[in-house]
């Protein structure tokens, strides 16, 4: 279970997260919606451990691990995965090599044997077929020359391979056409189960037509101002964020 209490964080002295309280029980998918600048991406970065954010109050634990005291790679080893809003390019680093290195790093931390190149390729190819990704994406540099949609699909492929227990999806739907959106949603839905939970950060409701969340939270001004069932997303679509703000 992901448990966030009173989380307050600032960047360059400016408060972005202002006392977030949130619980995502194991096996549940929660969505966080909010207007631009409400702190959605900051929340995902603070949870994943990016430098440059100062946590001034509150706590965040995942299955009892104090996330905020851990290095990013240690958080990854607990099963936390962040699908980036803007996946990063690594020139010259082959996608297959990167994925295998990451997978083996996680396997090592779990005390599992590493996969050799052949074993890895077998697993990777299976997952790629499921995501309708062309195999040559394995040979290309990580995200180098990928279209926006390819980058997002690559994030989902990584998620499928690394098999996290908790995924943070940071606006994974932005910039996707409807076909790509469906592939991404299928990738997430395929992972749904009692051992997988996710926090889906999105600006728009449309992704939630394909991935139906257990709970929806509205983030505004650095705090959760409203929570509800999947119907809350539809309400927002109709009435907009300003209505929530007025009510709050």
């Amino acid at each position: 279970m992901l448990k966030i209490e009173g989380l307050t964080a600032e960047i360059d002295g400016k408060t972005i997260l202002n006392g977030i309280d949130l619980e995502v029980p194991q096996g549940e998918l929660h969505a966080i919606m909010g207007p631009n600048g409400s702190g959605k991406s900051t929340l995902s970065y603070v949870l994943a451990g990016r430098e440059g954010y100062e946590v001034t109050a509150g706590s965040a634990t995942f299955d009892g691990h104090d996330l905020l005291s851990m290095e990013p790679e240690e958080r990854a080893a607990t099963g936390l995965f962040l699908a980036f809003q803007y996946p990063v390019e690594l020139p010259g680093v082959g996608n297959a090599n990167f994925l295998r290195t990451a997978l083996n790093a996680l396997r090592r931390s779990k005390g599992e044997p590493e996969l050799d190149a052949m074993q890895f390729l077998k697993v990777a190819r299976e997952r790629m077929r499921a995501l309708a990704m062309p195999e040559d994406m394995l040979k290309r540099g990580v995200n180098v020359g990928f279209s926006g949609g390819e980058k997002k699909r690559n994030e989902i492929l990584q998620m499928a391979l690394l098999n996290p227990r908790m995924a943070l999806l940071d606006e994974t739907d932005s910039g996707l056409d409807i076909d790509a959106l469906r592939i991404v949603a299928d990738g997430v839905n395929a992972m749904r189960g009692p051992a997988f939970s996710a926090l889906i950060i999105t600006h728009y409701q449309r992704l939630l037509d394909y991935i139906v969340p257990d709970r929806v939270h509205v983030l505004m001004g650095g705090r959760i101002v409203k929570s509800g069932g999947p119907e809350l997303a539809k309400e927002l679509e109709v009435s907009g964020y300003t209505s929530v703000q007025a009510a709050a």
Binding site: A48, G49, E51, G52, E73, R75, G92, A102, S109, M118
Partner: protein
């Protein structure tokens, strides 16, 4: 365990930025008296039982050296070197070995520790290709030079069946005097520069390779250099001759013990390629770089040059320079033959207080000659890394082409990267291109890797290897893997 994976593991098992190869071997060593004068030159020549012409050649070089000055133009700084305060000859006292069985077991253990496979049996038994490749691995013939003397050359007999000569240069002086005399100093003359003159006067050993007409060398040839003795300079000389239509791939590696003093390594390498011949020369240079405060380390002042004498000849230099306190070297190609090709692929890392001033010279003389330069400089710690390159096109080199790409990667905020390209084009139809970039390892790249579970150092290693990929892919496969590990080790402790 196959020798290759053994080598890799030797490199892999390094921890926390320590120089793995820094041990010293206790072995009885004979020195020449300290210092340098004509008597020392005569002493070396006599020790090697050399013919008169070679002694005269050395003395001529020595007299030239006396009148020369150390180059001051490289972007490196170091206290004055006292050339009288070093030994110019050090050799294990055992008589020269006739076969591997005669080699001092202590020496063999040293090379074993270094992961250098000298035992032919291991290779003959067949090294299994790893799962990544379907290629069959060929054995590598090794010439090992310990301090000043070649201690063992493997696979000689098998190579001799093809007419290939692969031996130490001392042996070549005795067994193939005509060849040595015909070519020695024709690519790098005695008076070429300060260090080349010094080398010509006191060179002690090195490798000699001769590939006859039309022969494709069936295996990688490799020389492994080790400085062991204290206060000794190492001056090896390598000469490779590829006759018409022949092909050879040669690799050299080097390490030294950790010492507080600086030791001088001034080598000369001469390559000659005739019509349609190809020489591929790869270097993985890992001399002791000194400690994090800049104490000790090798001064690597090396002259390497190739003559592409024949039409359509090709010379390709690939270097991975991770060691040495100071590196000063410019492996060059003089493209004399029409349609000849010169290539230079380089990765140079400077970490801590290391300094490197390295690059290449491509001299286009023949028609339609082509050259490619790809240089990747990585600076970390307080390292200073300079690419210095010359592309020169003579008036007759019509339609010559050059492409140069210089990329620098900075890690941290106390290092430096410098690019100094010289272009002298005297031919209207020539085309010379130069591209250069400087970048840092971005914070978002590191975070992306770490979020996927990689440690910070693994992330740096991965990103740096990606940055160097164009160069690393030019290395023979066995060594490419090793070089990748080496890059990562060289950068340990450079972030965070």
């Amino acid at each position: 365990m196959p020798a290759v994976s053994e080598t890799i593991e030797t490199v892999q098992s390094v921890t926390e930025g320590a120089y793995k190869w820094g041990f010293h071997t206790d072995i009885e060593t004979e020195f020449a008296p300290k210092g340098l004068n004509e008597d020392i030159v005569r002493f070396i020549s006599a020790k090697k039982n050399e013919p008169q012409w070679l002694l005269d050649w050395r003395l001529k070089a020595y007299r030239m050296w006396l009148k020369m000055e150390e180059p001051r133009w490289p972007a490196v700084s170091y206290p004055p070197i006292d050339y009288q305060d070093a030994y110019y000859y050090a050799a294990p006292t055992r008589p020269a070995p006739k076969s591997l069985a005669d080699v001092d077991p202590e020496l063999l253990r040293t090379y074993e520790k270094l992961g250098i496979p000298l035992k032919e049996q291991a290779w003959l038994a067949g090294v299994r290709p790893d799962a990544d490749s379907d290629e069959e691995r060929l054995p590598v013939a090794v010439d090992a030079v310990f301090d000043s003397v070649s201690v063992a050359t493997t696979f000689k007999d098998r190579l001799a069946k093809e007419g290939i000569i692969f031996c130490s240069i001392s042996e070549a002086v005795h067994n193939h005097p005509d060849l040595v005399r015909e070519y020695l100093g024709t690519v790098v003359p005695q008076g070429d520069n300060f260090y080349a003159a010094l080398n010509s006067a006191v060179f002690t050993d090195g490798s000699f390779v001769y590939i006859p007409k039309g022969v494709r060398c069936p295996m990688e040839l490799s020389t492994y250099f080790r400085i062991n003795a204290k206060s000794t300079g190492q001056f090896e000389r390598t000469l490779i001759i590829a006759e018409e239509g022949s092909h050879v791939s040669y690799l050299e590696g080097c390490t030294a013990p950790m010492r507080d003093e600086n030791q001088l390594h001034a080598a000369v390498v001469e390559l000659v390629a005739m019509d349609d011949a190809t020489i591929k020369y790869s270097t993985v240079q890992n001399w002791y770089p000194g400690d994090s405060e800049g104490r000790g380390g090798i001064y690597n002042f090396v002259t390497k040059r190739a003559h592409c004498r024949g039409d359509r000849s090709k010379v390709s230099w690939t270097q991975v320079e991770t060691g040495s306190a100071i590196t000063w070297k410019y492996p060059s190609c003089v493209l004399l033959g029409d349609d000849s090709v010169g290539e230079f692929y380089s990765v140079a890392i400077t970490n801590n207080r290391q300094q490197a001033d390295t690059g290449t010279k491509m001299i286009h003389v023949g028609k339609r000659t082509r050259s490619t330069i790809v240089s990747k400089g990585i600076s970390a710690g307080r390292g200073q890394n300079t690419y210095r390159g010359l592309v020169k096109v003579a008036p007759a080199a019509s339609n010559a082409r050059n492409f140069t790409q210089c990329d620098s990667l900075l890690i941290g905020d106390q290092c430096g990267a410098h690019t100094v390209p010289y272009i002298e084009n005297r031919c209207m139809t020539a085309k010379v291109e130069h591209e250069a970039t400087t970048s840092r390892i971005a914070e978002d790249q590191l975070f992306y890797c770490r979020q996927r579970g990689l440690s910070e150092e693994d992330a740096v290693g991965l990103i740096v290897n990606g940055f160097c990929r164009e160069v690393l892919k030019e290395l023979p496969m066995e060594f490419a893997v090793e070089a990748q590990k080496l890059l990562q080790i060289s950068l340990e402790g450079s972030v965070g």
